[in-house]
Structure formats: structure tokens, C-alpha cells
């Protein structure tokens, strides 16, 4: 049992250990420069990621409330990878920040929460994990301590989160009330189509929908993304959403399997609404972070279409797309973070003539945007194609057609930025920025990921084999 305990929970234990190490660093008297600290922490995060690839075995702990298997470990590794990339990209911003250690303690706490959420075998541990991953995030959103929009964003985030958690908890308690269990494994057998159960399902679904900013529960997104520091925004838009989706898919596929014909049409409706609204608003944005916020909203809509396929292919397509999304979105955010930290500029117009001064960065941003837009042969195309193919399994052709139409519309706004960078002249061009080593590594990983997962991919087949097992 103790051996099992260490082996099965190694991911959680490692992250917990890292948090403790950081606490000791903080209370220790020794003064260290930020650079040393950041190097140390990035090294630890890399170690954390690497450790995730060893000792992969399935098992249950604590009376089935904690479950782990290769698929869950893969999902956790994807989150660790995202966290590491963001940490590398935040290097330039954190170098000048007074509270580096606190930043990482909060960040790792949310990561720990997500790990528990993914491994949860019952609704209780799931909810605890969810809250652990949400509350420290509010503090992180506030991490530009001297900027008021950052505080405003934090307040908005925490209040809306509290509201959605309330609804989610309400749903969970009704589910418990009608079925008498909170175990994921037992719930499906006890669901008998009672209207109250279905009502509670809607509430749970709403709670999830809020977290991944599905229209009409998306209103907090743009404001919070704009106000938060870039690193936190990218964390919110990539890692945090990925974690929720990792849980949402199995919950819908296993727990709510029997009322599937109720939630599938609802999911499709929400997805198409999300894609359209995300796209229409992204068209008009002038601020890069707001722009990426709306673009990420519309990406979530595509993911919902894949989930709606209700098949092993659908689930693999979602995980595969999220892997690609981590690379593409972080590629874009990496460049935006550099611009924000070094030049203090965040508007789309500031990218005019960017190619002249920063050819390499322009290519990185362009490739990332192409991947987000889903242009072949970037990985983003295959991700979206598989999502649509999975969704087509339900033969809602109107929906597929609308989604594909939106792929073309989205192309227009992604191209707008590419055009600004490559074709427009700027009256006040950005001065030549030095790209630090950590950011370079992070961006290389992102571009490499975009090209490799699209061009030579065993990744999808690996995921599919894990799920079909």
C-alpha cells in the first residue's frame, strides 16, 4: 500500500514537494537574485515534466476516490508541459517582479488542484480539486500589483467563479440527493432519467461551461484576460481550460452517458453559438490579449463539437486538439508576452512592420496564428479536421457547415495580424528587442510542436489507443 501510494500519486506528491521547497526558499533568509531563483524553478519544473514520463501504471487509492491510468498521466503531463512553457515565457516579466516565489507557489497550487481534478473518482474530490485550481488563480490574475485593471480583473474573476461554483455545487448536491452516491463509477447505473437528475446535469454542465467560457457564460473572459498579466492570461486560456476539458469529456461520456441524447443537441447548440460569437467579437478587437481571448472562445466551440461526437474518436480528437492548442496558443502568447514585457505594447497596431524589426518572432507568431486558424499543413488543421469529423458522426450537417464557415471567417482576423506584421508600415516601429534564452527555448518548443504534431504524428494514435483500451 505505501509503495502504491508513492507510485500512483507521484505527480501530485512531486508538485506538493515543489510547493514546500518554494515555501522554504521564501522563508529562508538567504537573499537570491531573481535570475537565480527563476533558473532554479524552471529547472524544477522541467524535472517535474520529465518525471511524469516514468513509472506509468494504473491504479486506485483511497477507496477509488483517487484514480490514475496512463491516459490521466498523459493529460497531467500535457498540463505540466504547458506550465513549463508559460514559466519560460514569463521569465522577462518575472525578472523584475518582487514576488517571484509567491507567483510560483500559487501557480503550482492550481496545478496541484488540476491534478486532483483529473484523478478524481468522485464528485467530492473533483470539486475540491476544482476550487484549489480556481482560487489561487484569482490571486494570480491580480499579480500586476501596481495596475488597477489587474485588481479589477481579479475581483471579477473571483466573483464569477464563486457564482458558477455555487451552481455547480447545487447541481452536485441534487445529484447526490436523487442518486445517493457521488462515485463516478456508480452514478451512471443510478441515473434513471428522473427530471430532477437531468436538471442537476444541466447545472453541472453550466458550471463547466463557465470555466471554459462557453457562450453565454463567457462574459468574464475578455475583461479578465485583458487585465491579467500576459503569463496568467495564457495560463488561464490554455492550461486551466485544458484541465477542465480533460474532466468534462469523461464526465459526459461515462457519468452522463444515458441521457446523452439530451446533452448532445444542447452541446451542439452551445458550440455553434460559441464559435459564432467568439468570431464576431474577435473581428473587432484592437487589443491583442482581448483578441486572443475571443479567439480562444471560438476554439472552445470547436472542441465542444468534437465532444458532441460522443465516441472514442471524439475524445481522442479533443485531447489531440488540446495538445496542438497548447503549442499554438502559447506560441502566440509567447510573442505577445515579450512585446508586453519589453516594449509595453499590447495593441494590434503595434505589430505593424514587426517583420522588418523582428523577422524570427514574426514567423513564430504567424505560424501560431495559422495553426489557430487551421490552415494546412500546420497541426491546427488536423486538430480541427478531426474534431469536425468526430462531430460529423452525429450527422448534424448544418452544424458542421456552420463551423467550417466560421473557420474561413476566423481566417480573416488571423490574417489581419499577419498582414500588419508583414505588409504594413509603421510610423512608430517597435525598437529591436532582445529575446532572452528562456523565451527562445519556449518559442522553439511551440513552433516545433506545431510542425511535428501535424506532420509526423503518433500522438493521436497513442491517445486513441489509450482511450479505446
Amino acid at each position: 500500500m505505501p509503495k502504491d501510494f508513492f507510485a500512483l500519486m507521484k505527480g501530485e506528491l512531486l508538485v506538493g514537494l515543489l510547493i514546500i521547497v518554494l515555501l522554504f526558499l521564501k522563508i529562508g533568509n538567504k537573499q537570491r537574485s531573481n535570475e537565480t531563483l527563476l533558473r532554479l524553478i524552471n529547472g524544477l519544473l522541467l524535472f517535474n515534466l520529465a518525471a511524469g514520463f516514468f513509472c506509468i501504471r494504473p491504479g486506485n487509492l483511497f477507496g477509488n476516490s483517487f484514480q490514475t491510468d496512463p491516459l490521466r498521466i498523459l493529460e497531467k503531463n500535457m498540463l505540466s508541459l504547458g506550465t513549463l512553457i508559460i514559466s519560460l515565457q514569463a521569465y522577462d516579466w518575472l525578472r523584475q517582479h518582487k514576488h517571484v516565489v509567491e507567483f510560483y507557489i500559487l501557480l503550482l497550487s492550481t496545478l496541484l488542484g488540476m491534478f486532483f481534478m483529473i484523478s478524481a473518482g468522485n464528485l467530492l474530490l473533483f470539486f475540491v480539486g476544482l476550487e484549489l485550481s480556481t482560487i489561487p488563480l484569482a490571486a494570480l490574475v491580480n499579480f500586476d500589483l501596481d495596475k488597477k485593471p489587474s485588481s479589477e480583473a481579479a475581483i471579477k474573476f473571483i466573483l464569477s467563479s464563486a457564482f458558477s461554483s455555487g451552481l455547480l455545487l447545487f447541481g452536485i448536491s441534487m445529484l447526490y440527493g436523487t442518486t445517493g452516491t457521488i462515485e463516478f463509477a456508480i452514478l451512471p447505473q443510478r441515473l434513471d432519467g428522473d427530471p430532477l437528475q437531468l436538471f442537476s446535469m444541466i447545472l453541472v454542465l453550466t458550471g463547466f461551461a463557465f470555466k471554459i467560457s462557453v457562450v453565454p457564460f463567457h462574459l468574464w473572459t475578455a475583461d479578465v484576460y485583458e487585465g491579467a498579466p500576459v503569463a496568467v492570461t495564457s495560463y488561464l486560456s490554455v492550461v486551466s481550460k485544458a484541465a477542465i476539458l480533460f474532466v468534462l469529456t469523461p464526465v459526459l461520456y461515462t457519468v452522463f452517458k444515458s441521457p446523452g441524447d439530451t446533452w448532445v443537441p444542447i452541446l451542439f447548440l452551445l458550440s455553434i453559438l460559441t464559435i459564432i460569437v467568439g468570431n464576431l467579437f474577435a473581428l473587432r478587437q484592437q487589443n491583442m490579449k482581448r483578441f486572443l481571448a475571443f479567439s480562444s472562445i471560438s476554439q472552445m466551440g470547436f472542441i465542444l463539437i468534437g465532444i458532441g461526437g460522443q465516441s472514442a474518436e471524439g475524445r481522442s480528437a479533443v485531447i489531440y486538439f488540446l495538445l496542438i492548442y497548447i503549442f499554438s496558443n502559447l506560441g502566440a502568447f509567447g510573442v505577445v508576452a515579450l512585446m508586453s514585457a519589453r516594449a509595453g505594447r499590447e495593441r494590434i497596431d503595434d505589430y505593424k512592420g514587426f517583420y522588418k524589426s523582428h523577422p524570427a518572432l514574426s514567423w513564430v507568431l504567424a505560424i501560431s496564428l495559422f495553426s489557430l486558424a487551421g490552415i494546412p499543413p500546420t497541426a491546427g488543421f488536423f486538430g480541427k479536421f478531426f474534431l469536425l469529423l468526430a462531430g460529423a458522426g452525429k450527422a448534424h450537417y448544418w452544424l458542421i457547415a456552420l463551423a467550417a464557415l466560421n473557420m474561413v471567417i476566423s481566417l480573416y482576423y488571423y490574417l489581419r495580424i499577419v498582414k500588419a506584421m508583414f505588409m504594413d508600415e509603421s510610423r512608430e516601429p517597435v525598437e529591436k528587442m532582445r529575446t532572452g534564452m528562456p523565451a527562445k527555448i519556449a518559442l522553439t518548443v511551440c513552433v516545433g510542436g506545431i510542425l511535428v504534431t501535424g506532420l509526423a504524428s503518433g500522438a493521436y494514435q497513442y491517445m486513441h489507443s489509450l482511450i479505446a483500451r
Binding site: E152, I155, T262, F281, A392
Partner: protein
């Protein structure tokens, strides 16, 4: 050599050229960029010719049927058991023929550009893009999997975008590139949805399996796709119709043709390669590739026929009024592709009924030679005149005797005068139309006469007429491209002349290829002959049209001007291309934007931005929040949130009742 040993090199050599030139940067290989790309292209072209020889004359024909060979296949992404995306090369008569056409024309354009683009600042970039395009186009024609086709289809669009916008400091070029990209992307959307339907219903993305399953009337897949229907049309009809929309967009068929005239902003050799010989015929190729499936659904073939015929007629009429030499050629391309389309549309599976299919690809083959020849000649002319406008040309036959002969050969070929190549392919198309649909035949006949008329209008205005060019040649007209004066005299370098000679030979001789012995829809080659008497009418009409053009434009006179005034309004309508562009602008600006864009803008402005008013307010809000008084904004968010949840509940109640009654 076995095919697998070298066939991959055909597309990969241009890719290597692109990577080399793209990565080495524009300065290091500046001098040798053109040479490197051309040599690699030469090797690629030689290999393609060798493969074609092997396929058609050595081992392709087995028991009277051309077999399909898949020498290379790489299992790439497996979506689910049975449905996988492969990267492979499929050799069958049409793909082998296309490999030859693409590599050959591309090689000629590479060689021509050596002289034509010399002195251009972004010389290396130009060749890099050209190589990228060639690679994508070769991938498109050789693809063994429909999604592979789509990927290369998009890459072709992307490289075309880069090449149209090559002179990126000219606003017209940038906007033309954007227009081409957006219009074809919208069309590709149809293609993508079509692929999704086909893939899902047939359970495969592989061309061979797909065609086998969907042409076998007894297969479960065929039963599935024809039984399921949407809005009263079978899914097969939808899928093929949507795929055809994709093809029509790339091939500039009416009403998706609006990008093609604008695309002439690119360098002229690019127009010769992309917008005459290769990319624009991709739509024809796509329909031909899926022809066995198309032939299972006659209504869709009807659509193909009529879109083709309408485009052919529309473009020919518009071409008569245009005064920009490249635009005339662009409309003539559209018109000729219309020919190919309706020829495919009137074809059916098996024996003599497949004549239209053979004729269509035959015309594609001959058209590639004479149209790229005409475009390259136009390039030489623009080089000398420094203008695209017919008004500024005239009397060039003495100054450019060489180009004059080449252009004349091209004109005679496109006008369908024997024994030039266009004659043979056009007669076959007309014969196929005659056998199936008299009205389509009539349109084809009239269009062929109009074609002869506008091509010779072009010819006489450029080379006869009186000279309207000032004698000085100092480049003071900045309208032309590639401002350096060409090497080797007025008619360009030896390389440029060489390309023209080779293509002229092609335009003369390509018609002698007995096409029905190589390319037929059921892969069972046979001999076919067009009766001599059938040709009398079209040829005499074309000759008449040429005489008319000569009468109007050969010498300076006011006949043409009088005719123009006599036609009045009608002429204006045609000159403005039937106001199709304006119609599009009207629809997007007056209908789509107000209906979709404005409400979205309103919501954003009043609900999102309106609530973001100024830092002062935010400060106040934050202060309120801390005091425990909530800002209106958050309350509003919660209101939406709650309304959303409530809406979902209502929806669920609806579905619940729906399901349980």
C-alpha cells in the same frame, strides 16, 4: 528503375529548392537562385517524362486496362480503424499526364523568368515561391488520398497568394492577393464539407477505396449515402456539389471567377504558370479525379455542365471588351476552363460516352501549352511597352518579329484553326457536346467563334495597327513590371526566347497526341476519330471571326469605335464585367455587414465597451466592490449567466418532452 525509387523526387526536388532558397536568405544565393531552381526543376521534369513513358508505353497497360499504381504510401494519421489520412502517390493516366504538364510548364516559366525577373530585388524570394508552388501543385495532382489533395490544395492557394502579392508595395497587388485567397477559401469550405461527408459516409479517405465503394451500386456505403438526404437532395449529391464548389472556386467558374482578373497583378510568368496552365485547372482535375463517382449522380453533372457552359460564354463576351492585355487573357482562360468543365459534364462512363472526359483533359493538355505561351509573349510585350494597355501598343510586328510569330501560333491554336493543337481538342469537346446536348453544343460553337474574334482583336491591336509607342525606351512609364531593360535586345535573353520556341512547338504539335488511347474514364483505351465534316462549321466560323477582327482592328480606323458607340449601354455592361464585382460588394457591404456585423458591433460597443468606460470609473468600481457594493457590470454578467442557465433548462425541457412523447 521501379517507380518507388524516383517518383518522390518529382515533388521533392522543387521542395528542396524552396527550402534551400527560403532558408539561405535572399542575399547569399542572389546570383545563383534562378539557376539552382531551374536545374532542380529540369531534373524533376525529366523524371516526370521518364515516369510517363514508363507508365504509358511499358508497364501501365495490363490487359487493355490502365492500372492504378500506388508506388509510395505512408500511413500518416489514423483517425479510427479504417479511416486514415495517408500521404501517398497515385499513378493513373490523368495524374501522370498532369505531372508532365506541371513540371514542363513550370520548367519553361523558370527558364523564362531567368531573364524576365533579372534585376528584381527579391529575385531569390521569387524563385523560392515559384518552387513552393510547383511542389504544392505536384502534390495536389499526385495525391492518393482526398485529404492529401485538400492539404496541397490549400498550399497551392497559399503560394498563389504569395505570388500574386509579390509586388507587395503595390496596393492593387496586395488587395488582389487577398481577394483571391478569401474567395477561394470560401469555395474550399465547400470542398472541406464535401470531404467530411464523403469520408464519413464511405468510411475512407483513400481515392481508390472511395471510388470503388461509391461506384458499386450494391455496396452498403453507396446505399447509405444515397438513402440519406438533406433538404430533399441525397447526401451523395450534396457531397459532390460541395466538392464541385471547391473546384469551381479554384478554376474561376462563374460566379466565383471574380478573383482571376485581379490576380493578374502578379508577375506575368506567374500568371502563365498558375493562372493559365496549372492551378486554375485544378478544379477540372478534381472533377476528373472523382469522375466515376460524379457519373453516379447525373444531376450534379448537369450542374457541372451548365456552370461550365455559362462561364465559357460569359468570359468570352467580357473578353471582347477588355483593354488590358492580361485581363483579356485571364477571361479567355476562364472561358477555356468553362469548355473543359462542360465537356466533363456531358461525359458518361464507358466507351464512346466517355468522349467528353477524354476531350476535357485533352483540352487541358493543349491549353497548358498555348495559354502559357500567350502569357509569356504578353510578358515580353509588356516588358517592351511598359504598359498592359492595348491602347499603348501597336505595330510591334516589326520591332518584335520573334514574339510576333510565337503569339500568332498561340492565337491560331486557341482559335481552333487546324493543324494547331487547340483545333483537335476543341473539336473533340464540340463533338462530345453535340452527341449529348444540342444547346450546349450551340453555346460551345458560338463561344469558339467569339474566342477567335477577341484573340485576333488582341493580335491585330498589338502587332498591326499603327505604332502608338514613343520611340524612346527609357523606362519612364513606371506602370510595367521588372523595370530593368531586358538583356539580349528587345525580345529578351536567349532563355526567354528558348521558352517561347519550346512552347510554340508544343502549341503546334500537342494536338497530334492520340488522347483517347491514353485517357478515358473507364481506363480502357480505344481509338477515336472526329469526322472531318464535323469540323467544317466551327473552323469556318472561327475564320470568319478572324476576318472580322482584322477588318476592325488591323489598321487604324474608327469602325471599332463606332461599333462601341452603337452598342452604347450594352457595351458598358459587358465592359464592367456584368457588374458581378459590384454585386458582390453590394451583398457584402449592404447586406451582410449591416445584418451581421452591426448588431455584433452594437453589442460589443454598448455592452462590452460601454461598460469599460475609463479608468476613473474602474477605480470607483473597485472601491465600491471593496465596500461590498457590487458594480452594475458584474451584476449584469451574472444576469446573463443565469439567463443562460435558465435558457438551457428550457431547452432541456423542450428536448425532454420531445424525446418522451
Amino acid at each position: 528503375m521501379h517507380y518507388a525509387d524516383y517518383i518522390l523526387l518529382i515533388p521533392l526536388l522543387p521542395l528542396a529548392a524552396f527550402l534551400l532558397l527560403g532558408l539561405a536568405g535572399r542575399n547569399r544565393l542572389r546570383k545563383s537562385a534562378g539557376l539552382i531552381a531551374s536545374v532542380l526543376m529540369l531534373v524533376s521534369c525529366t523524371l516526370a517524362l521518364y515516369a510517363a513513358w514508363r507508365y504509358f508505353f511499358v508497364d501501365g497497360l495490363v490487359d487493355g486496362v490502365y492500372r492504378q499504381i500506388v508506388p509510395v504510401r505512408y500511413n500518416w494519421l489514423i483517425f479510427s480503424p479504417g479511416l486514415s489520412v495517408d500521404m501517398g502517390i497515385l499513378l493513373d493516366p490523368i495524374s501522370v499526364m498532369m505531372l508532365v504538364v506541371v513540371t514542363f510548364v513550370s520548367l519553361m516559366v523558370h527558364i523564362f523568368s531567368l531573364g524576365y525577373m533579372k534585376g528584381e530585388e527579391r529575385f531569390t524570394t521569387y524563385y523560392a515561391f515559384l518552387s513552393l508552388f510547383t511542389f504544392s501543385m505536384l502534390g495536389l495532382v499526385a495525391a492518393s488520398n482526398i485529404l492529401e489533395t485538400y492539404i496541397f490544395w490549400e498550399l497551392v492557394g497559399l503560394s498563389s497568394y504569395l505570388l500574386i502579392g509579390f509586388y507587395y508595395d503595390r496596393p492593387a497587388a496586395v488587395s488582389a492577393a487577398k481577394k483571391a485567397f478569401i474567395v477561394t477559401r470560401f469555395a474550399d469550405l465547400g470542398f472541406l464539407i464535401g470531404i467530411l461527408i464523403l469520408a464519413f459516409q464511405a468510411g475512407t479517405l483513400d481515392f481508390n477505396t472511395l471510388i470503388a465503394r461509391l461506384t458499386d451500386a450494391g455496396s452498403p456505403q453507396f446505399a447509405g449515402i444515397t438513402a440519406a438526404s438533406f433538404l430533399g437532395i441525397s447526401l451523395l449529391g450534396w457531397a459532390l456539389g460541395l466538392v464541385f464548389i471547391g473546384g469551381a472556386g479554384k478554376s474561376a467558374m462563374f460566379p466565383l471567377h471574380i478573383w482571376l482578373p485581379d490576380a493578374m497583378e502578379g508577375p506575368t510568368p506567374v500568371s502563365a504558370l498558375i493562372h493559365a496552365a496549372t492551378m486554375v485547372v485544378a478544379g477540372v482535375y478534381l472533377v476528373a479525379r472523382l469522375f466515376p463517382v460524379f457519373s453516379m449522380d447525373p444531376p450534379v453533372l448537369q450542374i457541372v455542365t451548365w456552370v461550365g457552359a455559362l462561364s465559357a460564354a460569359f468570359a468570352a463576351i467580357v473578353a471582347c471588351t477588355q483593354t488590358d492585355i492580361k485581363k483579356v487573357l485571364a477571361f479567355s482562360t476562364m472561358s477555356q476552363i468553362g469548355y473543359m468543365m462542360f465537356a466533363l459534364g456531358v461525359a458518361r462512363q464507358g466507351g464512346e460516352a466517355g468522349l467528353g472526359y477524354t476531350a476535357s483533359l485533352f483540352h487541358l493538355f493543349t491549353h497548358a501549352f498555348f495559354k502559357s505561351l500567350l502569357f509569356l509573349c504578353a510578358g515580353s510585350i509588356i516588358h517592351v511597352v511598359h504598359s498592359n494597355e492595348l491602347k499603348e501598343m501597336g505595330g510591334l510586328r516589326k520591332r518584335m518579329p520573334f514574339t510576333h510569330i510565337a503569339f500568332l501560333i498561340g492565337c491560331l491554336a486557341i482559335a481552333g484553326i487546324p493543324p494547331f493543337s487547340g483545333f483537335f481538342s476543341k473539336e473533340e469537346i464540340l463533338l462530345a457536346a453535340w452527341r449529348s446536348n444540342a444547346l450546349v453544343y450551340g453555346i460551345g460553337l458560338v463561344v469558339s467563334a467569339i474566342t477567335a474574334f477577341y484573340m485576333f482583336r488582341l493580335y491585330f491591336s498589338i502587332f498591326w495597327h499603327e505604332s502608338r509607342i514613343p520611340d524612346r525606351n527609357d523606362g519612364s512609364h513606371s506602370a510595367g513590371e521588372a523595370l530593368s531593360s531586358p538583356e539580349g535586345g528587345l525580345e529578351g535573353s536567349p532563355g526567354m526566347k528558348f521558352s517561347l520556341v519550346v512552347l510554340s512547338a508544343g502549341a503546334l504539335l500537342a494536338g497530334l497526341v492520340p488522347f483517347s488511347r491514353f485517357i478515358v474514364p473507364d481506363e480502357r483505351p480505344h481509338d477515336s476519330h472526329t469526322p472531318l465534316s464535323f469540323s467544317i462549321l466551327p473552323v469556318s466560323l472561327a475564320l470568319g471571326a478572324i476576318l472580322l477582327a482584322g477588318w476592325l482592328y488591323r489598321r487604324g480606323n474608327d469602325r471599332a469605335e463606332k461599333l462601341k458607340i452603337g452598342l452604347g449601354r450594352l457595351y458598358q455592361v459587358v465592359y464592367q464585367k456584368f457588374y458581378i464585382d459590384e454585386a458582390y460588394i453590394f451583398i457584402t457591404k449592404k447586406i451582410v455587414f449591416p445584418l451581421v456585423g452591426r448588431p455584433a458591433a452594437w453589442v460589443d460597443k454598448h455592452i462590452i465597451d460601454g461598460l469599460m468606460n475609463g479608468l476613473a470609473l474602474i477605480v470607483a468600481k473597485v472601491a465600491w466592490l471593496i465596500r461590498g457594493i457590487q458594480s452594475g457590470r458584474l451584476q449584469q454578467y451574472m444576469l446573463y449567466f443565469f439567463a443562460g442557465a435558465f435558457g438551457l433548462v428550457l431547452l432541456f425541457v423542450y428536448y425532454f418532452n420531445h424525446l418522451h412523447t
